[in-house]
Amino acid sequence: MAVSPFASRSPSVAVSSPNTAIRLRAAAAQNSANEPAPSAKPLQADQELTEQLNEDVRQKYIKGGFPPFFLGEGTYAIVYLGHLRDDPSSFVAIKKIKVNAEYKDGLTMDAIREVKYLQELSHPNVIALHDVFSSKDQNLNLVLEFLPRGDLEMLIKDGDIHYGAADVKAWMGMLARGVWFCHENFVLHRDIKPNNLLIAADGEVKLADFGLARSFADPYLNMTHQVITRWYRPPELLYGARQYSGAVDVWSMGMVFAELLLRVPFVAGNTDLDQISKICEAFGTPTEENWPGVTKLPNYIPSDRNHLVPLQGREFFQRQFPTAGPVGADLLMSMCTLDPRKRNTALQVLRHHWWTAEPRPTNPEDLPRKSGGTQKMGDDLSRRGGEMDDGPFKNAARQLDFGK
């Protein structure tokens, strides 16, 4: 029989669990005449349990400073710096989801997905959702882990930051563990890219932005292919596959791996078509031989018979990514296999011997860091899923269609 293991995910250790709160309130309701309620406010008989619980959660946090310290503002959300009321040194990021006046169908899908999946995923390499509460104006507030060291994109782009193979291995290891955990929970992230990989104070990489995430569909159900920011989108999605697996996230991971090594995006197409042709040039042209069934995909475009690029082998990856070493190049290759069925799963990635080969991964605390991370975190968290910061590729993956 299931017991009732209410557990708090709050950063503080001493926060009472919600269940205790219910029980306390229950006791208070019975003795409200002679006993003060546990919270500062006296218990009101007409305040429902739900509201009391919400109020308790809300009272736990303070949006930091006067005026409230904005970390970022986007079309989708405003992010504030906050802290636990009882412990001003426990910082959190409070993401207030804007009520979208144009969207008449209630809470938006991005917000629902983000809340739904983050409530379920508790792992050191996935951003922690400590609490959710509603404020007076019916805005949704997500209390997220405070990640002051920015994101991977920031480090990749900054030429003054030097990092080596050991650092890449540490970052990739943390990313792979986060992705593995999502897949183990039947959740596809569907938007893995460097600026969704945030860095905590202790150097841990955290997978963030679950606005495009969804659970694995049952085998016969279709999913949309309009997900994942283009440069990180795998060929099967570009070809319009409606049934796919965790392999899509593994491809994105491979692209992040390549970008960490090269310090520029590896295949950066300007349009979806351009992206396909760049992938073909880089990794080889998909054919029925190397990817059975590819020609049946809805948006498959036959390539020029005279311009077939053979499937790239180990040597190509070793030549292209010398810093990874032969073992690292082998891992990268297994993550960038065109046929999603032959691509490594997140579990296989974790089992690769690159992780145990020299050099050892750097300790998270010793990884290169850069100032300005707090601001970057604010920008990352206030962005919608699939959105790019700037450039011509804005809204690359925004147009979701939810059809069947």
Partner: protein, 689 residues
């Protein structure tokens, strides 16, 4: 997470206990139930100076275990470059940066054991020891052996070099004096406080003041060795390199896989929406009490304002006498009645899903029903009428379960005229009631998996269960074919599995949704219970493939460890599981649909009447949008009453108007109230077409 941690540690300890081969041990240090502080032990590896010794490891399980590594240190003093000879601190990557949740206490203890046989002096925890190993390996071996004999109980004659010669040289005085400072308290205990920045004297004084028992609980037990034996010779303050960073042993990321149950226990369904029978009852009672109080208070307020406004009218007589009586006796719903009402709307949700073309997926409907049930754990139908919450729950479920349709489309699909605004108005309220957890773990996927496994066995392609690796496909298939036949003989085993599948699925769609099953049992337990009802011999066969048979089988003599029930932990597990499944089966079996039972329907009508009278007092169901804002959300009834009393001595016409208005409102609500339990949705639909 805390309880997830307990379970996991408990399971790990059972594993350690079951495995006598590796000689690894771990047990709680103090209270048996406290698995956050353990003592592990293992024998020193053969062929090393540590051979023959037993090494105790102090293990602390952090709050977010298994996502953070256990904190381990050597309790037994050991002379080894990667272990601090003073504190026992360990330098091992798998206990720090290379930790992974799939590693276990046992695997960590095994790594420590192998660390003893592979010292890595280039990456030392203890610089002095490392230097000695690099420069005077003989001397290192001698000291290591000496320590093994003194502290780890290794026999003197083994591993040659271990003469006790050096020990007599120990300057005993210095050590004694040092220990004297601890005044008989456990050194580790005192040191723990010293680590916080206090000096020994102050800690010991404080211990005296708060009367900590020197020899009390095991936690405070003195280390016999430290007191009696000679103190190791070494200067007091050799710098040790803590957290030296680089690792010494190959780290393996994954040695075991997370099992389904571990994952379930991190879900919000388990964390927030799993209860015991008692806690569920008490939660419902509380919700009911708060709502009842509120309904009665509204009634009193209304009564007072009626009285005050009535006093202004010329003929108050009859009205003021009858009203108070009626309203003072407001009969509130009992928690049981609330539950029946909610269940009725859960059944309605299933029907409503059928009215769409194509019908809404089972999963969406099941999610919506669970939303309703969860919402009414902390909200009362007396305050929020289930009819409006129901449609909203179904719409939210389409969004959270990836069955996207626009609000317009959704509202158009509802029989009768329901506006988009009606559907969406309670959304926020509902989500708040769900405590912003949208994920529902259903038993359907588990059932599909189990059926696929059985079909594979029938085809002779069965896979052995993780705990029973000796299972062979042929043997499994023979077992399946040999099970007792069902009451009606079937043509083939495949058909039989298919039939059981269908029956179970129907049960999961109805009984499992309408009872408290989700609150009390895990998804696997639910589908297995339903499967047991559908075809008991088949379900029991399935359990046997996973957990072994009900009786000890003495056939496998070569592998007696796995089949002897006394040593096989699965046997006990099977018994336990069966008793849980029996309870759950009984719950599923007790369900019969309300609409199919005239008696229940009669009861429901009576509840509906009561509800109507309650809601008359607290008619807030139409005001979801502002329901959270206490200040602005004045229910129409009391608002009208307040307005009346504010205007002081009201004129005749005004109070008449007021009375008329009230009457009209009541009539409207009466109509609405009857509507609720009037025509079935299906007939409504035909009416609408």
């Amino acid at each position: 997470m805390a309880s997830n941690r307990m379970r996991r540690v408990g399971k790990e300890m059972a594993d350690i206990y079951a495995d006598s081969h590796s000689q690894i041990k771990a047990e709680p240090i103090g209270d048996e139930d406290d698995v956050t502080h353990l003592r592990g032990s293992f024998p020193g590896p053969p062929g090393t100076p540590y051979e023959g010794g037993t090494y105790n490891i102090d293990i602390k399980i952090p709050i977010d275990y298994p996502f953070r590594p256990p904190v381990m240190k050597f309790e037994t003093k050991v002379w080894h470059p990667n272990v601090s000879s003073q504190t026992g601190a360990i330098c091992l990557d798998t206990l720090a940066s290379a930790w992974s949740p799939v590693l276990t206490i046992k695997s960590s203890l095994l790594s420590l054991q192998s660390l003893l046989s592979t010292p890595e002096p280039k990456d030392p925890q203890d610089a002095e020891v490392a230097n000695m190993l690099l420069r005077k390996p003989k001397e290192f071996e001698r000291v290591a052996r000496e320590w093994a004999v003194i502290y780890a109980g290794a026999p003197q004659n083994e591993a040659g070099e271990g003469s006790r010669g050096g020990i007599d040289d120990v300057p005993e005085g210095a050590g004694r004096e040092n220990l004297a400072k601890y005044d008989g308290y456990n050194k580790d205990l005192v040191d723990r406080f010293c680590g916080m920045g206090f000096d020994v004297d102050r800690v010991v004084t404080a211990f005296h003041q708060v009367r900590i028992d020197r020899r009390g609980g095991q936690d405070y037990q003195l280390e016999e060795g430290a007191m009696a034996g000679p103190v190791p010779r070494r200067p007091a303050d050799i710098p040790t390199l803590r957290d030296a960073g680089l690792s010494t042993l190959p780290s393996s990321f994954l040695t075991i896989a997370m099992i389904e149950d571990d994952i379930y226990r991190t879900s919000s369904q388990f964390r927030l929406w799993s209860f015991t029978n008692a806690s569920l009852q008490s939660l419902r009672a509380t919700t009911n009490a708060i709502a009842s109080e509120r309904v009665r208070r509204r009634a009193r307020e209304a009564q007072q304002s009626t009285a005050s406004s009535a006093s202004g009218t010329p003929q108050p007589g009859s009205e003021s006498e009858s009203k108070p009586n009626e309203e003072a006796n407001i009969e509130c719903l009992t928690p049981e009645e609330e539950l029946v009402l909610v269940r009725y709307y859960c059944e309605k949700t299933l029907e409503l899903g059928d009215t769409y073309k194509p019908p809404l997926p089972t999963m969406v409907r099941a999610t919506a029903i669970q939303y309703l049930r969860r919402f009414y754990l902390s909200n009362s139908p007396m305050i929020y009428h289930p009819k409006s919450i129901m449609t909203c729950a179904l719409f939210v479920a389409t969004k959270t379960d990836n069955y996207y349709m626009s609000l317009r489309q959704f509202a158009d699909g509802i029989p009768g005229d329901t506006s988009t605004e009606d559907v969406i108005a309670p959304e926020f309220l509902l989500m708040q009631g769900l405590r912003f957890t949208f994920d529902v773990r259903h038993p359907f996927r588990g059932l599909e998996g189990g059926v696929m496994e059985l079909q594979a066995i029938a085809q002779g392609q069965g896979q052995p269960a993780p705990h029973l690796p000796h299972q062979m496909p042929d043997e499994l298939r023979r077992g399946l074919l040999a099970i007792a036949p069902p009451p009606t003989p079937s043509s083939s085993i495949t058909d039989r599995i298919g039939r059981a599948h269908g029956t179970t699925r129907e049960m999961l769609k109805s009984a499992a949704q309408m009872t408290d099953a989700y609150f009390l049992y895990t998804p696997s337990q639910i589908w297995l219970s339903a499967f047991l009802l559908a075809d008991r011999p088949l379900a029991e066969f399935y359990l046997d493939t996973k957990l072994g048979g009900p009786i000890a089988r003495a056939t496998d003599t070569d592998n007696s460890d796995a089949t002897n029930p006394l040593q096989n932990p699965l046997y006990e597990l099977r018994t336990k599981l069966l008793s849980v499944l029996t309870d759950c089966s009984a719950m599923l079996q007790s369900y019969s649909p309300l609409s199919a039972d005239p008696d229940q329907m009669k009861g429901l009508k009576r509840i509906a009447k009561k509800l109507y009278h309650c809601q008359k007092q607290s008619p807030e169901k139409a005001h979801f949008g502002t329901a959270q804002k206490r200040d602005s959300a004045q229910p129409p009834l009391s608002a009208a009453a307040t307005a009346a009393s504010d205007s002081g001595p009201a004129s005749e016409s005004e109070s008449e108007r007021l009375a008329k208005k009230r009457k009209l409102e009541q009539e409207q609500q009466a109509r609405r109230g009857q509507d609720l339990f009037g025509p079935e949705l299906v007939t409504e639909r035909t009416k609408g077409q």
